[in-house]
């Protein structure tokens, strides 16, 4: 039996970061991973999707290169080389996973390959090995949930229905794809396939895609997707799947859509198998933890997707640091209202904090200010003018409590909002900050000016 200070189960962005941090703080750490270091994020999630999206964006720009003064004699000579697309993705993933493996090694963490299970709060068995430690950090992530729709199991077996992991390794480009669900992952895949020329249909159960996002973001993205050729059916109820055909009802009518591939993106469920003996409390979102990521069982921490707070890689990492610090005796915590999230659609989305609706509901004296991208010089120069910034503030002090950006570089831009909110910045501070010209970030300043008083660069009636 090997003894450690901390055992981390799961080597995703939650687990490996927790392990590194714990080791940096002086603990002797074991990390158990059943698949590949990097977890969903590096292997099947964040990184492969963004790698493919990079190519898709280039392809899209290339198709309209004439409007930028670059002529391609025959656009039909431009071909997506699916094999190379996949190869590049694998190269990128392997490079980054290799880097993380190096990091883990450099930080003197013992890695055990295999799926672990706990026998009690201090003992984890992996293969032939039994490990023991004072503290346990669970970071096993989540798995795709395939809902029980009549016919879906057969369609999965026949290869018609896939999940996101299948979608990043298709053997060839589908002519058409139907996406079940309208969450962030669904929208990113819709963007990817649509940009590459695949016919995309989204079937969404509720009346909107991207629910929980600010209404202005939702409608802008929904309209833009529709304008660029994606078919979005909201208020649809799926009744049955028959190979590549999805039968559904919409506004009382029985309809169906047939496509090469059906992507199920209907939610994820925490990975809890093997930890039943611990008796940790779970609710419908996932493992229940206190603000220092400790479960109801002393010395057992849980982080990342399995807690279901915000299913994002940077949240998993931040929670991993909190757990490692808690074990080390530093009581830190995360304010989830100050955590950004992104959608890598074209244009991108970056949001943080309260939506207008949520802020009102939470009882704030809410002020909002919006500034459109179409009035921004850099956006016009780049030919990408769909989008806006919306700042939600608490009128009491002018504190910024939510920022919602739709713009081609929104995922880079939201960091400004994150650091402002971390520093309890107000609309006055952002308005006063000199932003460089010409950049998209000027719209953030303009919106702040609009919240304080009057923006310079818009006709506000």
């Amino acid at each position: 039996m090997k003894t450690y200070d901390v055992i981390v189960v799961g080597g995703g962005p939650g687990g490996y970061v927790a392990a590194i941090k714990a080791s940096q703080l002086g603990s002797k750490v074991a990390l158990i991973e059943g698949d590949r270091i990097g977890g969903v994020c590096l292997n099947y999630g964040c990184i492969p999707t963004k790698t493919l999206l990079r190519s898709a964006k280039l392809y899209q720009d290339l198709m309209i290169s004439e409007s930028f003064g670059i002529d391609i004699e025959n656009l039909s000579d431009v071909k997506i080389n699916w094999d190379n697309l996949m190869k590049r993705k694998d190269t990128v993933v392997n490079k980054i996973v290799g880097g993380v493996e190096q990091l883990v090694k450099y930080n003197k963490i013992d890695v055990f390959k295999g799926y672990g299970h706990a026998t009690d709060a201090h003992t984890v068995v992996v293969g032939e090995e039994t490990l023991s430690a004072k503290n346990l950090i669970l970071a096993t992530g989540s798995s795709v949930l395939i809902p029980s729709i009549p016919g879906i199991d057969d369609a999965v077996t026949a290869g018609y229905v896939i999940d996101s992991t299948g979608a990043i390794k298709l053997p060839k480009q589908p002519n058409s794809i139907t996406i079940l669900g309208g969450g962030v992952i669904a929208i990113e895949f819709a963007t990817l396939f649509n940009s590459l020329g695949t016919k995309v249909t989204i079937l969404q159960r509720s009346d909107t895609i991207l629910k929980n996002l600010d209404a202005d973001v939702r409608t802008t993205i929904q309209r833009h997707l529709t304008d660029t050729g994606v078919e979005i059916v909201t208020n649809s109820s799926i009744s049955r799947v028959d190979n590549g055909t999805v039968h559904y009802t919409h506004e009382g009518k029985e309809l169906s859509v047939t496509s090469d591939i059906i992507l199920a993106s209907l939610g994820r469920t925490p990975n809890l198998k093997g930890f039943e003996p611990l008796g940790i409390k779970v609710d419908k979102r996932g493992v229940v933890v206190d603000e220092h990521m400790q479960t109801n069982v002393k010395g057992v921490y849980a982080i990342g997707d399995m807690c279901g707070k915000m299913m994002l890689a940077h949240v998993a990492s931040a929670e991993g640091i909190v757990a490692a610090e808690a074990i080390h005796g530093d009581k830190t915590s995360i304010n989830y209202h100050k955590v950004p999230s992104c959608i890598y659609s074209f244009p991108e989305v970056g949001v943080i904090g309260y939506s207008e609706e949520a802020a009102i509901e939470a009882g704030y004296d809410v002020g909002t200010s919006m500034f459109p991208l179409s009035a921004n010089g850099k956006a016009v120069a780049e030919g990408e003018t769909t989008g806006f910034v919306k700042i939600v503030h608490d009128k009491k002090y002018g504190e910024v409590i939510g920022v919602h950006i739709v713009a081609s570089h929104a995922t880079d831009m939201i960091a400004e909002a994150a650091v402002s909110m971390e520093l309890e910045g107000t609309i006055y501070d952002i308005a006063k900050t000199v932003h460089p010209h010409p950049t998209l970030s000027e719209i953030v300043m303009e919106a702040a000016h609009g919240a304080v008083d009057k923006p310079i660069h818009i006709i506000k009636r």
Binding site: G183, G267, V351, Y397, E424
Partner: protein
């Protein structure tokens, strides 16, 4: 009808369901001093009670220059320099 999962991955905002938002609901009842991180550290360092300093930054935010000015004016007369506990 289809069974659709409760959990949507990388869902952007925490729904306002009980458990989720309870984690970090800000306490908004107290009046707070708007101050910059450097001003707060400096106030502690120089024994200045930050809540007595009038801020000159946007919306009255206390900046490091304000703490320096407060420390400079009190320094000649106040030799004792009782450090302030206020680090809010």
């Amino acid at each position: 009808t289809a069974v659709v999962g409760e959990i949507e991955i990388s869902d952007a905002v925490i729904p306002s369901s009980g458990e989720g938002s309870a984690v970090s609901e800000p306490s908004r009842a107290t009046t707070k001093v708007l101050a910059t991180p450097v001003a707060r550290k400096m106030a502690k360092d120089l024994g200045v009670d930050i809540s007595t300093v009038k801020g000159t930054g946007p919306q009255g935010r206390v900046m490091k220059a304000d703490i320096q000015a407060a420390a400079d004016t009190k320094a000649p007369s106040d030799g004792a320099k009782a450090p302030s506990a206020d680090t809010s």
